[in-house]
Symmetry: C2
Subunit: 139 residues, 2 copies
């Protein structure tokens, strides 16, 4: 089953109606190699669905984020872009030159987290790691 369909099924399970705007945004997010801002999505979406409203982009991103399907990308310049979420122990890598995102399925950070827990007394509940560099093409 195409990934877009899986996302739409999750939306349906959550009790959401499947609409044209949502289909459009899901499709764009599933297939994008680059992080996209709400405005990026708005512009791209209107190519195939001219009536798309910017508010709907925000609302749909919020739902997809709640479902863990997309996540906000954090960059020096700002934190306004979204990307397909990393699954399990994947980590996101962003190319600083072309913007392409890649997912690396590396070790989990369990050992480090555990060490921090025991040495610092801090009880870590959540962590995120983001990597910035040059992709193969841009080196």
């Amino acid at each position: 089953m195409p990934e877009s369909e899986q996302w739409l099924e999750l939306l349906e399970e959550k009790g959401c109606r499947i609409t044209e705007p949502r289909r459009t945004i899901v499709d764009l997010m599933v297939h994008s190699d680059n992080a996209l801002s709400p405005i990026d999505l708005f512009d791209k979406a209107r190519a195939s669905f001219p009536k798309m409203g910017l508010v709907t982009v925000y609302r749909t991103l919020e739902i997809l984020n709640q479902l863990g399907l997309v996540e906000r990308v954090h960059q020096k310049g700002g934190c306004h872009m979204y990307l397909r979420a990393a699954n399990g122990h994947e980590h996101i890598m962003l190319c600083t030159r072309c913007g392409q995102a890649a997912y690396f399925h590396g070790d989990d950070l369990g050992a480090l987290i555990h060490k921090i827990n025991s040495e610092s007394g801090f009880l870590i509940q959540e962590h995120w790691l983001q990597l910035h560099g040059l992709c193969k093409n841009c080196q």
Copy 2:
């Protein structure tokens, strides 16, 4: 030498004038255990320097950020707060209950980064790790 003085010297070396607003903000950032937003800083600063302008807070944070003395903190709710920057291989931990920040000096990411470089072809230039959990007091 107090850390505030060190920061001010770095500002001077950069060619900046040492002003009352800058002293005030530096002092607040050096001594804060919690991440602070521009508005937080604005409010706190006016306690000792009532004429402080919000724009100056933004401008000073930008300079301190360029000098690597403060860094933006990334949280689910948004990325509008700043903290003394982590040095070397320190990583920032934030308490999700009281907001207190702690710095943990544990590397171990070198191996992971190296592995990613060789396996993915991606050349990692920078990495950010941020940890969220409960500090000793809040557990």
